[in-house]
């Protein structure tokens, strides 16, 4: 790390997240890319390398080899273009690869784009495609689904710590409150705890409103060395930590169901790099693919003691204005979860937060964090950002 240069985000952009019937994979990534280039005051020719994140373009639109496709759609000519795939952590992992590419000195200006087009296939096919994040032979073959895997975690968390279904519901309620203020979010409806509790059971105890939706969307970030960042943007945001860890793919192979070890390891490494502690983080985008995932995340990232995530949520400590604002974008639940884009969108949201540009939901934070998870926890990527 000593030999690495300091890196900043100098431009961000994203498409609206939702069911974008009129727009194709290519159009949404181009839209996000254009916004990022404008934000960075750059031309396409300034970009030297591209990292593209998509989890399942093969199954969803029959297209592999998407990195050069993305590069071309954004007007980048002949630059190195690489696809990064780590299931739902594809975006966060791609961000890390982009960070390392600049930090190492290999490149100066790198773009990272995450995109997922999920509505060109049936809901059933999209769900099957997402299933690829789990263990095919030993989980999916047996009839496991992603809601089921997270439900297994939820039941254990309730058994070990007394977390309640109401506390899980409060995560969804809060994230819809935040999404309501985010013009890019998929959902702009406020929901109540009862709405969540009365929604259809998907995998007991998780209900429809405990689950993040199927979404189309794209997000792009442009990275540059900190020392030249102000050339492109008055308010660059420094990436002060980038960490990643893996764990066994099958949930049943983990040491415990009530923590994601990969999150804990990545978070520890990130705090070490940034020389910070959990209490220093003021705003954080966590991976709430299901409500229980946010509870686990806020514990594993160190904001609250293990087992107290439910209580903390109930007490409003994760709201805007609380101890640490979690998922101001609306999270995966409220903003939507176009799989490959999510990890980058999280960085976009934190960038806006640190710049004071998150209309209607600003936290005036100086230090923010993103947390992106793959599958049921086999990958976790944590980044820490600081206003420059």
């Amino acid at each position: 790390m000593n030999k690495m240069r300091r890196v900043a985000i100098v431009g961000v952009g994203m498409s609206k997240f939702g069911e974008l019937w009129d727009k194709s994979f290519r159009e949404i990534i181009a839209e996000a890319g254009l916004m990022a280039l404008e934000d960075a005051n750059m031309e396409s020719k300034d970009i030297q390398a591209l990292y593209g994140a998509t989890m399942a373009s093969g199954k969803l639109i029959g297209q592999e080899h998407i990195a050069p496709l993305i590069a071309d759609q954004m007007g980048f000519k002949n630059i190195p273009a690489t696809r990064v795939e780590n299931a739902c952590a594809s975006g966060g992992t791609a961000l890390r690869e982009a960070y390392l590419a600049v930090a190492s000195g290999a490149f100066d200006i790198v773009a990272v784009g995450g995109v997922e087009k999920m509505t060109d296939v049936s809901t059933s096919s999209a769900t099957t495609a997402l299933g690829g994040a789990g263990d095919q032979e030993w989980e999916l073959f047996q009839g496991a689904t992603f809601p089921a895997l997270y439900a297994l975690m939820a039941r254990r968390h309730m058994h070990e710590f007394g977390t309640t279904e109401e506390q899980l519901a409060m995560v969804a309620v809060k994230n819809h409150e935040n999404a309501y203020k985010n013009k890019f979010a998929q959902f702009h409806n406020l929901i109540t705890i009862d709405d969540v509790l009365n929604s259809k059971l998907v995998a007991d105890p998780l209900k429809l409103l405990d689950c993040s939706p199927i979404t189309d969307g794209a997000a792009v970030a442009i990275l540059a060395p900190l020392e030249i960042a102000k050339k492109y943007n008055d308010a660059p945001v420094e990436i002060v930590a980038s960490a990643q860890a893996s764990d066994r793919v099958a949930l049943h192979d983990r040491e415990t169901l009530t923590s994601l070890k990969a999150t804990q390891i990545a978070a520890k490494e990130a705090y070490k790099q940034a020389k910070l502690e959990p209490k220093d983080i003021q705003v954080c985008e966590v991976h709430d693919c299901f409500t229980i995932a946010e509870i686990l995340a806020i514990e594993d990232l160190g904001f609250f003691k293990k087992g107290e995530g439910g209580k903390a949520t109930e007490e409003g400590q994760t709201k805007i204005g609380g101890k640490v604002a979690i998922n101001t974008s609306g999270g995966l639940k409220g903003c939507g979860h176009p799989v490959g884009a999510t990890g980058i969108k999280q960085a976009v949201e934190i960038t806006w937060q640190l710049r004071g540009e998150a209309e209607g939901r600003n936290t005036n934070a100086e230090i923010g964090m993103t947390h992106n998870v793959g599958g049921s926890g086999a990958t976790a990527v944590v980044h820490i950002f600081k206003r420059v």
């Binding site: 059933s124 769900t127 099957t128 299933g131 263990d135 032979e137 030993w138 989980e139 999916l140 073959f141 047996q142 009839g143 496991a144 689904t145 809601p147 089921a148 439900a151 297994l152 975690m153 939820a154 039941r155 254990r156 058994h159 259809k200 059971l201 998907v202 995998a203 007991d204 105890p205 998780l206 099958a250 949930l251 049943h252 192979d253 169901l257």
Partner: protein
């Protein structure tokens, strides 16, 4: 007519029918399903075949109500993480059981059932599910 994915599933028959796993003689750890490299021992791995007894207990469970297509006919079904008596955990359905309450800690025993079918003319894939025992 040539079918897809036959060998992929055929290889797993002894594991799925009889719970054949592996055991590392170097460190004594048991694994289901079997694996080549022991995570504790790396290159010092001494892996041999081991068949599990089929007894265990429920570590966690849920009820799947929105299954993937190939499991639809069975829905809703209980999906559980079962901890085998010997230690390893696996994911499996719990067979429908009249009036037997399913709890974390319930004792279970191996059963043999249809898991999926490759359509009307395709292969039937059999394997393990578990039943609650008193």
């Amino acid at each position: 007519m040539e079918s897809d994915g036959i060998a992929l599933k055929w290889r797993r028959i002894p594991n799925r029918y009889r719970l054949v796993g592996s055991h590392c003689e170097n460190c004594g750890a048991d694994f289901f399903p079997p694996r080549k490299i022991c995570p504790n021992c790396g290159r010092k791995t001494k892996m041999v075949e081991k068949t599990f007894s089929g007894y265990g207990k429920i570590y966690s469970f849920t009820v799947v109500r929105t299954p993937p297509e190939e499991h639809k006919e069975n829905a809703p079904y209980v999906l559980a993480i079962v901890q085998l008596d010997e230690g390893p955990k696996l994911t499996a359905q719990i067979i429908k059981s009249n009036n037997k309450e399913i709890k974390i800690g319930s004792r279970v025993k191996l059963a043999f059932r249809r898991i999926t079918e490759d359509g009307k003319e395709g292969l039937i894939h059999y394997g393990y599910k578990f039943q609650i025992i008193d």
